[in-house]
């Protein structure tokens, strides 16, 4: 790989670490759970981009398969954490608990898009 291309990929990889750090800051700061879930979802997407970039940098484009797997895991993980935070467990599908300020959650009406 020629030197300008390699420099390009090095600079791009280092430049991608900055938004990853910002997402981590939001995941630590975020006052609500949903802020943290959103920040980690975006961190996972940037991880996939980092995997693709470093795969090209080290001359191993086979690492894109790892990127596909991690994108899948990120998506499923976000939905699993959402389900856990709503129901308190990954297994049971009991009634939805009340809202955190005490008001009861309204039931889903027919015709409401779930």
């Amino acid at each position: 790989m020629s030197l300008p291309t390699q420099t390009l990929f090095y600079v791009a990889t280092i430049a991608l670490i900055v938004p990853m750090t910002l997402a981590l800051v939001r995941s630590v700061l975020g006052p609500s759970t949903y802020d943290r879930i959103s920040a980690l979802n975006s961190f996972g997407t940037k991880t996939v981009l980092l995997i693709a970039l470093t795969g090209f940098l080290f001359g191993r484009p086979e690492w894109l398969d790892l990127g596909v797997v991690y994108a899948l895991m990120n998506f499923i993980g976000t939905l699993a954490v959402l389900r856990f935070s709503k129901y308190g467990s990954l297994a049971s599908l009991g009634p939805v608990p009340d809202r955190e300020d005490g008001t009861p959650t309204p039931p889903v009406e027919a015709g409401d898009d779930a």
Binding site: P19, S32, S42, T45, L49, L53, F56, P61, T78
Partner: protein, 128 residues
């Protein structure tokens, strides 16, 4: 020819990284959860699009297929998870902090009762 392709690829690549950085700054600086979800969505759609399309210009054809597959999957899955997240947060009572426009999901107040503006932070108060 190869140099021209590499220049175009690097433009897309850095455009994607600029969008990722703007999304990251938005994640830290915006005041409200729903605004931050928009910033995160910008990272997923334009940031990932720019980076992966930019990498296509450096790769043999099989790798281009893999990159575009990852891109399409990221676009579909991030849209779905952002929608699920925002809908779950709204259903659990996380309201807009300082609504400057009307909250279209909440039903409009009647003309008789004039409600004060909703300035509580919803579930954020419980976390502190």
């Amino acid at each position: 020819m190869t140099l021209a392709l590499e220049i175009i690829g690097s433009i897309f690549l850095f455009g994607g990284i600029v969008f990722c950085t703007i999304g990251g700054i938005g994640l830290v600086r915006l005041p409200d959860f729903y605004s931050r979800c928009h910033a995160a969505g910008m990272t997923d759609s334009a940031g990932a699009g720019g980076v992966l399309v930019g990498l296509c210009f450096f790769a043999p054809p099989l790798v281009i297929v893999k990159l575009l597959t990852i891109l399409v999957f990221i676009w579909l899955s991030s849209t779905v998870s952002t929608h699920a997240l925002v809908k779950a947060a709204y259903a659990r009572g996380l309201r807009l902090e300082q609504p400057r426009v009307r909250d279209w999901v909440k039903p409009a107040p009647s003309d008789a009762a004039e409600e004060p503006p909703d300035t509580e932070r919803g579930v954020a108060e419980e976390e502190e």
